[in-house]
Structure formats: structure tokens, C-alpha cells
């Protein structure tokens, strides 16, 4: 079990009330596992069925492994431009 720091932005940061959260994750845990663990937090109703996750500043697939040293972020629907 390790702790993963996850950056939040925009509507996610607002709904979960913080810009970063720390989430426990089993060794060998994936992006999918991480998201499931986040769902138990208050305000996590804001997350869609498959929120986009970035690992080390790249979009990650649900099956990608997460390491506690990774830079992890939840990416709300983008609306730049």
C-alpha cells in the first residue's frame, strides 16, 4: 500500500474542496483502481464514469499502473480556447 498525491483542477478541485488529495493505492494499482478509491471522497459525485487522468503530464489509460512517485492529476472536461 502506498499513498498517491493527485492534483485536482477547476470543477473537480471546487467540488472536492482541495487542489490536491492523497489517495491510498495497493501496489500494482491502476488508474481505474485509483479513480475507484477517489469516489469515496465527499464531492466526488462530480466525477463522470471515466474521468480523464494524467500521469506525468500525459493522458493515461484505465489500465496504466500508478506509482506513488508519479505526477498524477484528474483532468476535468477541458474548455480552453
Amino acid at each position: 500500500m502506498s499513498l498517491v498525491t493527485v492534483q485536482l483542477f477547476a470543477s473537480y478541485a471546487e467540488s472536492l474542496g482541495r487542489p490536491t488529495i492523497t489517495i491510498p493505492l495497493e501496489a500494482g494499482g491502476t488508474v481505474r483502481d485509483l479513480v475507484e478509491n477517489i469516489r469515496s471522497l465527499p464531492g466526488a459525485y462530480v466525477l463522470p464514469e471515466s474521468p480523464r487522468v494524467a500521469i506525468n503530464r500525459r493522458f493515461a489509460s484505465p489500465d496504466q499502473l500508478v506509482d506513488s512517485r508519479d505526477e498524477v492529476a484528474l483532468i476535468p472536461p477541458v474548455s480552453g480556447g
Binding site: 492534483q7 471546487e14 483532468i75 476535468p76 472536461p77 477541458v78 480552453g80 480556447g81
Partner: protein
């Protein structure tokens, strides 16, 4: 000339044109996005832009590298502004130059379309009626209303 930046100051489109301009190019295409006074039928008062800055710059770098591969455009500069923007303020500017017009125009369109789908930047719209909403193009409406 290739450059991307997330900036928190005013964007000057003419400066981007000057950056890509060269006598080897015959065509410059510039796209400018500005804060509009209406969205989805509601009167907008202002917009706060925020970004995951490091990833946004990294995604922008990838996008202009892809544009170079696809269209052969070697001169491409993109600036996106974050912070509190007023009506009419420039939020994004993209300048592309090429020997010929086709690739310059194609590259500009490609970059703005890609920005809209994959660059982690977000808009919080403030309305004249006092409401505010996180813009979510995937929903047609924002995810949080007030």
C-alpha cells in the same frame, strides 16, 4: 520558430505575427479567441481561465509538433492566457507561417481544434445575472451551476 506559452498577461496578436513572419514564407494565418459576451444564451460578464500549466504547455508542444509533421509548418507560435479575463480580452492566439497558404491555414485550424479537446485549460464563466458555471463542452452546459 516554434513556441508555446501559458501566460497571465495580455496577449498581443501582432507580436505573434511578427514572430513567425519571414521572407521565406508567403502566408501567415492567425487565429484569435476572445471572451464573448454570450454563451448558450446567457449574458457573460467575465471568464476566469485556469490551467494545469505544465501539462498544458507539454500538450501544446505536442500539438505543434504534430502540426509540423502533418502540414510542414515550421513556424508556429501559440499563447494561451489564464487568469481573470474581461469581455473582449484575447484568451488564445495561434500564428502559423508557411511558404504557401494551404498549410498555414490548415495548421491554425488543427491547433485550435486540438486545444479544445486535449489541453488542460478550464473556463469558469461569470454571468450578468450573478451565476457562474464551469464550462463543459462535453455536456453542452457546465457541470456546476450557481
Amino acid at each position: 520558430m516554434r513556441r508555446v506559452a501559458i501566460v497571465s498577461r495580455e496577449i498581443t496578436p501582432a507580436a505573434l505575427i511578427a514572430e513567425v513572419q519571414s521572407a521565406e514564407f508567403g502566408a501567415i494565418s492567425l487565429f484569435v479567441g476572445t471572451v464573448r459576451d454570450t454563451n448558450d444564451g446567457r449574458s457573460v460578464a467575465a471568464i476566469d481561465y485556469s490551467a494545469y500549466t505544465e501539462m498544458a504547455e507539454s500538450e501544446l508542444e505536442k500539438i505543434i509538433a504534430e502540426a509540423e509533421d502533418r502540414f510542414g509548418v515550421a513556424a508556429l507560435v501559440v499563447e494561451h492566457r489564464v487568469g481573470a479575463l474581461a469581455l473582449g480580452d484575447v484568451s488564445v492566439a495561434i500564428a502559423a507561417a508557411h511558404a504557401h497558404r494551404g498549410p498555414a491555414l490548415d495548421a491554425t485550424r488543427f491547433v485550435i481544434e486540438e486545444i479544445k479537446t486535449r489541453v488542460p485549460i478550464w473556463k469558469l464563466e461569470h454571468y450578468i445575472d450573478g451565476g457562474r458555471e464551469w464550462v463543459d463542452p462535453s455536456q453542452g452546459r457546465g457541470v456546476i451551476s450557481a
